[in-house]
């Protein structure tokens, strides 16, 4: 008994039944490559062969700048959308200065809702986490820290719908772009 506990303490885990995100099939590998190029790096799945590691290094070397470009573009698109809305509002209501400030706060609040406050509800429904745990997971993921203590889709007792992983990937992408935009605005504002 002591030996088993000792073995578990030193970090040896068994390759038991896991969900598809824990095995190296297509969706698991896709999730792994996303966690690598967004530099989140959960670590629930990581390459153990030498060839896999070398490929991971090369993959990350090209993938991370590509990801940064993508985030930049998405951020610019979001910014354009917000400015477009601001222009429309100005024309309709003739507010001028107040409109852009209002639109900016609106966009901020919508982004906050969409990316930080509403997803934990989804997680509590699908993963069985509490709201706080879902919020903690969202924050740790979007800031790309990615401890790996909470990872979606790793519970073998639960069934996940087909659209779940894709929606989460989209959420990660847009959430990170929004967060980068917010940080850029904060830095501009502080200067």
């Amino acid at each position: 008994l002591q030996d088993i506990i000792q073995a578990y303490k030193s970090g040896i885990t068994l390759q038991g039944n896991t969900t598809s995100l824990g095995k190296w099939d297509y969706s698991g590998s896709f999730f792994f490559s996303i966690s690598a190029i967004t530099t989140i790096g959960y670590g629930n799945l990581s390459p153990s062969t030498a060839a896999g590691r070398i490929f991971c290094i090369l993959f990350a070397l090209f993938g991370i700048p590509l990801n940064l470009i993508l985030l930049n573009e998405i951020g610019q698109l979001m910014l354009l959308g917000v400015q477009h809305c601001a222009h429309c509002l100005e024309e309709v209501f003739h507010w001028q200065k107040k409109a852009s400030f209002l639109i900016k706060t609106c966009a901020l609040v919508t982004g906050l809702l969409l990316f930080l406050l509403l997803p934990p509800l989804l997680f509590s429904d699908k993963e069985g986490w509490s709201y706080e745990e879902g919020f903690y997971y969202s924050f740790i993921t979007l800031s790309t820290i990615g401890f790996g203590d909470y990872v979606i889709g790793m519970n073998p007792d639960r069934t996940y719908p087909g659209w779940y992983k894709n929606v989460i990937s989209l959420w990660i992408l847009f959430g990170m772009a929004w967060l980068a935009l917010v940080i850029k605005f904060c830095i501009n504002f502080l200067e």
Binding site: Y8, G41, G43, R53, C56
Partner: protein
């Protein structure tokens, strides 16, 4: 008279050096203080966590006892019959049942944890378990990550200047070497290009004129040969106009005939330096292959040294670990035996993250240039079919 002016000059030089280094030291010091404060906070909160046997842990232990009671002496029989049960049972186990918080959340352990938070590496071998620990972790990250980003950008400026200067020197040497081999007409072009490129590093902070826009774009299309003559021509014009333009930067400085004004000048210069953070990074123009080579050499150095005290890692694993850490991916699959020594190499880690950061920035620009070329190529191909001939 000369003897009294010497120490004064030395003092002034000392002061100058101090005020030049002060902003950078300021940032790094604040980051270090932030890390120490965080370490104290987390070691207090998480280290003093009350460990009580939860209900699930009791059930887990009970099931384990039942299973072991049914084990016979025959090993192979045990393996087949009970493997599934043990697998299922161990999958329900949670890691924080088996660890003593006081062992992991020592001061150095919490310091390591704080570093993984604000560098966004996030290994995950240590993570907060209590509710207040999690909230504090989020708050800590919210302020720590921008601070780290600021330090990175600031030191990145220094690194970028060093890199671009050494690269320019190397190119000058190379051009001299080549000039001694080829004919005069060819070398004239190259020398002009190098001179204009070296001079285009002059910083004049004013609203972007057309010349500067062209200059900043010239970096992206540097590879295309047909643009080179245009670039040289524009740079020659820019150089001419720079000689004729009044130096607008001097409007902030006053002639330092009295010491109070001199102090004000240093103060305003320090303030200007705060505003200029990140500008050298924007202007870096070094080939990306060189950067990738530098990264690989840098990581190989660390990977050669690391196995000296981490007995479980060989060169290949240490290389992989360093790479995953420096890009801040941080899987956490590689366990360190002595995290303390890794902390002492924090300067190495910061410089390494710098280099990777610069390389990724450069990679972005190159990729965008590549996309632009591809799109313009596709656009040119499509043009003939789109021509509408007026009737």
């Amino acid at each position: 008279m000369a003897s009294t002016s010497q120490p004064l000059r030395g003092k002034r030089a000392c002061k100058k050096v101090f005020w030049a280094v002060f902003p950078h030291a300021c940032f790094i010091l604040s980051l270090v203080i932030y890390a120490f404060l965080g370490a104290l906070m987390f070691s207090h909160i998480e280290g003093n966590r009350k460990v009580n046997l939860s209900e699930e842990y009791r059930k887990f232990l009970q099931s384990l006892w039942y299973i072991s009671r049914n084990l016979s002496d025959n090993m192979t029989e045990n393996e087949e019959v009970f493997r599934e049960k043990i697998h299922a049972l161990l999958n329900t186990a949670e890691r924080d049942w088996f660890v003593n918080p006081k062992d992991i959340w020592t001061f150095f352990g919490s310091l390591f944890f704080c570093c993984t938070v604000f560098t966004t590496v996030g290994y995950g071998n240590t993570y907060p378990v209590t509710r207040i620990g999690k909230y504090l972790c989020m708050l800590y990250a919210l302020f720590g990550i921008p601070l780290m980003f600021l330090v990175l950008t600031d030191m990145g400026d220094i690194l970028a200047t060093v890199l671009s200067k050494s690269y320019n020197e190397f190119r000058k040497l190379q051009a001299k070497f080549l000039a001694s081999k080829f004919c005069a007409g060819f070398t004239c072009n190259k020398r002009d290009e190098l001179k204009s490129r070296a001079q285009s590093k002059i910083v004049i902070n004013e609203p972007l004129t057309i010349m500067e826009v062209l200059k900043s774009q010239a970096g992206a299309k540097r590879k295309a040969v047909k643009y080179r003559n245009v670039e040289i021509f524009e740079m020659l014009i820019a150089r001419e106009s720079e000689h004729m333009k009044p130096a607008k930067n001097k409007c902030m400085e006053r002639w330092s005939s009295c010491p109070e004004l001199a102090r004000g000048k240093t103060m305003s210069r320090v303030m200007e330096n705060f505003d200029k953070i990140g500008q050298q990074l924007e202007k870096l123009d070094v080939p990306i292959v060189l950067m990738v080579l530098i990264i690989f050499v840098y990581i190989s150095c660390a990977a050669a040294i690391l196995p000296k005290w981490e007995k479980r890692l060989d060169f290949q694993e240490a290389f992989y670990f360093c790479f995953i850490t420096l890009t801040t991916i941080g899987f956490g699959d590689t366990q360190l035996e002595h995290p303390k020594f890794f902390l002492f190499c924090s300067l190495y880690i910061i410089i390494g993250m710098e280099i990777v950061f610069i390389a990724f920035k450069l990679g972005q620009e190159r990729l965008i240039g590549l996309y632009k070329q591809v799109i313009s190529f596709c656009g040119q191909k499509k043009m003939p079919s789109k021509k509408i001939y007026p009737k």
